[in-house]
């Protein structure tokens, strides 16, 4: 069902930075009672995997993994100890929905079972556009 005046975000990158943007906008939107769809496609699909640790895209080559861990630690000090628990809350409140893209899952051989169980069932391009009929669409 298309939501009135919601926001739909497209996430196509697996960096820590994009993850951070989805985390902060998603949880804040939940606090403000905004309905949001997050459509994960291409490399962004990795962010939905339980075992995936995002690396920093902006850090120097060779330092990207460490950069991701460093950011994570610092965000913990800012009060975000468990980012995925925060996202789970926003999903359970019904304001944040996480949709994996079926075609790119097949393309990249990423399985639904690798993802968190509060991720919605995969959808396609038409499904995402239908969901977003009354929403702003933003590519992160």
């Amino acid at each position: 069902m298309a939501e009135e005046n919601g926001i739909s975000f497209i996430v196509s990158d697996r960096s820590f930075e994009k993850f951070g943007m989805a985390l902060i906008l998603g949880t804040t939107g939940d606090a403000m009672d905004v309905k949001m769809n997050f459509f994960f496609t291409f490399w962004g699909l990795h962010l939905l995997k339980r075992k995936f640790k995002p690396k920093s895209a902006g850090m120097f080559t060779g330092m990207k993994g460490m950069g991701g861990m460093m950011f994570r630690k610092k965000l913990g000090k800012f009060g975000m100890e468990d980012p995925w628990a925060m996202i789970k809350d926003a999903v359970e409140n019904g304001n944040m929905k996480l949709y994996p893209c079926q075609m790119t899952m097949d393309l990249m051989n990423i399985k639904r079972e690798e993802m968190w169980d509060y991720v919605e069932d995969p959808i396609g391009a038409a499904g995402f556009l239908e969901l977003s009929a009354n929403s702003k669409i933003v590519s992160l």
């Binding site: 804040t28 606090a31 403000m32 009672d33 009060g79 925060m86």
Partner: protein, 74 residues
Amino acid sequence: MADLVLNTLGKKCPMPVLMTKKELKKMSSGQTLELITDDRGALKDVPALVNKIGDKILETKEAGEQITFMIQKA
């Protein structure tokens, strides 16, 4: 005196907003919440949250790094 006090010193965006919403959710109509923060972004973020969800900011005080909001649940 507020009915409840929420201290978010040291916490950065979006935590003061998320913690405020969580607290307001538990409160009953007419009750007040004193929010203490040192996140400069909260000066705009907390009013944005409170306006969006229909509650009210009764008072905002700044003293050095510290910002204090008095919020009333609608």
